[in-house]
Symmetry: C2
Subunit: 105 residues, 2 copies
DNA sequence: CAGGCTACCTTGCGACACAAAGTACCTTGA
DNA sequence: TCAAGGTACTTTGTGTCGCAAGGTAGCCTG
């Protein structure tokens, strides 16, 4: 899969998932990789950026199945950011599709 | 506009336009910038990459309105590449929208 | 000949996906 | 008891590529 396409949408995917409930990083990797190829080396740096920007918070929860999990929770500013990205995404798709439309192969 | 979103789609836009007829670089900038912000610093390096990859060819045409124009023409392998990118694009949009779908705000 | 449009090209920077490697916890089974 | 394998987080380095900025050069008008 074209890795360049993912740029700019991964953040939206993560925020969208977190809107529905807190997740830990490893879980996010598994859930997102159901629909696009993704690895931990992508998610963890992204989560750090998002936290630095204040759109998510995190907290640690002990686990019986392995090391402690770092759960991420979306903030109020994160929800606003998600709405912004969502409308940007739909607008972008529309404008690309419009440009591609005159295409007869 | 989110510059990250453009990644991976610019090539498709250019190839799609060239499928409908030869264009020169400056013209491509103008036509594409009708639907997304783009500058020459983006297009010219991209055209060079595309030519190096053999998906486009170029030829020079004199102009009465200024310096000579370098026209770009899509190759057979470029048309195949375009078809590949096109289906990748639609598949990508579908999978992102599917992931976003469970989203209740 | 200055100013402005057309047209091309290059350099340098920054953002970010991702491979790779490291740390550490748990359970299972020989 | 100790390897093996799964879970989970983190960091480092590399490569791609959009884009601002700056340069060259042709054409036309006043």
């Amino acid at each position: 899969m074209n890795s360049q396409l993912k740029r700019g949408t991964l953040e939206l995917c993560v925020l969208s998932l977190l809107c529905r409930g807190d997740c830990y990083g490893y879980e996010l990797v598994n859930r997102i990789s159901e629909c696009m190829q993704i690895t931990e080396g992508t998610i963890y740096p992204l989560m750090k950026r998002l936290k630095d920007n204040g759109v998510i918070d995190s907290y640690i929860v002990e686990s019986q199945e392995g090391p402690p999990r770092k759960y991420y929770k979306i903030t109020e500013s994160g929800r606003e950011e998600k709405e912004k990205l969502l409308s940007e995404w739909f607008g972008f798709v529309d404008s690309i599709n419009a440009l591609l439309k005159g295409d007869n192969g």
